[in-house]
Amino acid sequence: MEVELSKEEEIERLVESLKDSKSSDWEFHDKYNPIYSTGKGLNKSVVEEISEIKKEPDWMRRMRLKALEIFQSKPMPTWGPDLSGIDWENTTYYNRPDERKSQNWDDVPDQIKDTFQKLGIPEMEQKYLAGSVAQYESEGVYHSLKKVWEDKGVVFMDLDSAVKNHPDLVKDYFCKAVPFTDNKFAALNGAVWSGGSFLYVPKGVHIDMPLQTYFRMNNESTGQFEHTIVVGDEGSKVHYIEGCTAPRWDKDSLHSAIVEIYAQRDSDVRYTSVQNWSKSVYNMPTKRAWVDERAKMEWVGGSLGSKITMIYPSSYLRGPYASTSNLNISLAGAGTVKDTGAKAIHMAPHTTSKIIAKSISIEDGKAIYRGLLRMNKGAVDSRSKVQCDALLINDDSQSLTFPHDEIYEPTATFSHEASVGKIGTEELTYLRSRGLSEDEASSMIVLGFLDDVMKEIPMEFAIEMNRLVKLEMNKLGAVG
């Protein structure tokens, strides 16, 4: 039975927990060399080489080459953070860590297994998960699914394996919600994609434990370009989680993923992502969900690491009574930019959306909210609420908010609110009058500010996120 802690005890525990927190917990790197690499740079022969190694069907090879043409023809975005630091020429676009794709941790090469053990993945899988996939560099190295779900027809494996084992099923969904023509980074993914997960939940199946994929980049100047597809068939229910880390290098790496989610009629899909890339990673994924009649799509995100992140998970509400929510926390530490947000496109009557975004900027970190809310004509009686709150910790911290609200349906109701501020002196004074030091009080206020979103995140990830937020605060001497 859990004993309720007093505030003093809670603070004490918080301070104690920080003593053990250090970025080396996830910023370590292994001396592990890939067994195959396409080398630096990107051109037609690199793309053909990737397709050849994977022994792909011709349609996939042609699609990759078409995507490469589109990538090369599209300009860099003229908006958002400065991306001029991406070194296209010196990035390695494909690294194969091992030949095997294991279904048992004992079969995974020791060094890779050690990495995931240090990150606590096998332990987490045993305790909390219905299945998991682990990706190291460009390939999935491990996947497993508990038998009970396999027997019910659930498919969960890395996407490369799914292309081989379930080609027709994959073809039905691959690049439908996010075509590679969508944007420059989606086109790049189309050309060099490797790994990612494929999750299919059959009609009416409710999976009561989450499934997780963990992505790890190890080498410097590499790219990780996974493509993930989640399909919740009619009436199904699933919670899919992604986590990602990388060591810190002097040279920058690039992560440009695609996530496609299909929440079919009456389904309930939750996607949680906790990103903790090191500060040498450009993180540019494209994530989108198609949400059909009466389906429910929930995005829960923690964007904690990376040098620059640009991410705007989108929900296309395609059927009547479809709904979506998007809860996101961004932490912009020193020298980093988090350009994050959400999009909800209401395309059918009686659809609803809720977007809550919280950001914290520390030192000269810059947190940007950029979102789109659109009510198409015909989205009769649809409703939406958008709320973004930002907390600026230091004098030179920055917050920018750019919502884009487009209403083409007169019966729709929409509201947006945003606020930016610092830790309130009144709140501080109140907590200090209760015996807390200023640092302790600041920390408590910051965690309270995040509480709306934090409580929606699975316990294990919430603890991890709390730890990371406190760690960033700790660097400032705000806690402990």
Binding site: T401, P403, H404, I407, K422
Partner: protein, 403 residues
């Protein structure tokens, strides 16, 4: 635009030549926005290159207006003063006659937007209103542009230190609109220390005319700028209002309302740019959309690093009253220091059915109920004006929007 450089050389042999040239280069350097890569950069009111060319190359001719019987202090036709009353402490002149008198600050402010750069390069008329310090004055300006003329104006308003000024400026079309003219103007207001300006701006041009207006204000220490802007006319409208609060403790308040009907497209931008310490900005805009029209409200509350102890608020509400119309809002917050308070909100919806039901239960029919609700919606903005004539005019619009 090929002929524009030649035009610039022939038309503009004045002290502003360098300014015009810089502005034109800025225009050329600023790309036309596109929404292909992102929804964040989308021009909702589509001014084509032809529209802009018409505006830049158009030359306003003399407009004959009959001054008699008009209730205004200054009557302006195509940007040139037709008649003016003597007002104590107020000097008003055509800009081309005042170029040598203008302080250097005027030529330092080149603007920020593509269309504004073009107006600053190409204007050929406009007024210079100079109000001396320590004055308390009220100025009424009625300005007309010919319905078939394209062109652009540059207006300069100087408010002397510690003066209290109330301006009502109304903009109309003279004669029938022909040939889809595009009319631009950039009004720059310089406010001295401790001065107060209430600027009541009302635009009700013909819907056959496209209008591009920039109002840019520079506030010195402890100045207070209050603007009421009502945009009712023009087929295509871009109205941009931004105050640069350079002075500490400067205060900026915006009360705006836009009405769009038929096929009108209205783009209203209100922004603050706060640099001084302890500045405050409060922006409230309302819009009513009918017919196949569209309205977009945008604007940034921008609090820069030195602007500590400042606050900024932006609030937009739009009533979308028709099935064919649409409304967008894009409020932005740009906050570069943490010792500030800022917030924005926006809402778009139809008239609340519960409110109509309540009024109907009191025996008021649906049409009148809608009229009362939308009237109250606009009234909340204009009631803060100190200018009765202005309030009355807007009340008439409020009645008119209700079918």
């Amino acid at each position: 635009m090929e002929q524009f450089s030649d035009l610039l050389k022939t038309r503009l042999k004045d002290p502003a030549y360098d300014f015009r040239q810089d502005s034109f280069l800025n225009y050329l350097k600023t790309p036309r926005r596109t929404h292909k890569e992102s929804p964040t950069v989308k021009d909702y009111v589509d001014f084509s290159e032809k529209d802009l060319e018409n505006m830049a190359t158009g030359i306003y001719g003399k407009l004959d207006l009959e001054p008699g019987g008009r209730d205004c202090d200054i009557l302006i036709g195509n940007g040139q003063i037709v008649s003016k009353k003597e007002l104590k402490g107020v000097k008003i002149s055509n800009i081309e006659e005042s170029l040598d008198d203008l302080p250097p600050a005027v030529w330092e402010k080149k603007g920020k937007d593509r269309e504004e750069f073009l107006i600053n390069a190409s204007w050929n008329t406009g007024y210079f209103l100079n109000i001396q310090k320590d004055r308390e004055v009220k100025v009424t300006i009625d300005a007309y542009n010919n319905g078939s003329d394209s062109g652009s104006e540059k207006n300069i308003i100087f408010i002397g230190a510690f003066s209290k000024v109330n301006i009502i400026e109304s903009r109309y079309t003279e004669g029938e609109a022909k040939g889809n003219p595009t009319q631009g103007k950039a009004t720059y207001i310089f406010m001295g220390e401790g001065s107060t300006l209430e600027y009541n701006y009302l635009q009700d041009k013909s819907t056959g005319v496209s209008d591009i207006t920039f109002v840019r204000t520079y506030q010195e220490k402890s100045s207070t700028f209050k603007i009421f802007h009502i945009n009712h006319g023009s087929g295509k409208l871009l109205f941009v209002n931004e105050s640069t609060q350079e002075g500490n403790e400067s205060d900026y308040r915006v009360f705006g309302a836009s009405f769009s009907n038929g096929r009108q497209s209205i783009d209203v931008r209100d922004s603050s740019f706060q640099i001084g310490k302890s500045t405050s900005a409060d922006i409230q805009v309302r819009g009513v959309v009918k017919g196949s029209s569209s309205t977009i409200h945008r604007g940034n509350v921008d609090i820069e690093l030195p602007s500590v102890l400042s606050s900024g608020f932006y609030d937009s509400k739009i009533l979308l009253l028709s099935k064919e119309g649409y409304a967008n809002s894009k409020p932005g917050l740009i906050i570069r220091n943490n010792n500030t308070r800022s917030k924005h909100g926006s809402a778009i919806s139809n008239v609340d059915k519960e409110q109509i039901l309540y009024l109907e239960s009191r025996g008021i029919d649906e049409k009148t109920s809608t009229m009362l609700i939308t009237g109250g919606f606009i009234e909340s903005i204009i009631e803060k004006s100190n200018n009765e004539k202005f309030i009355e005019t807007v009340r008439e619009y409020s009645k008119d929007i209700n079918f």
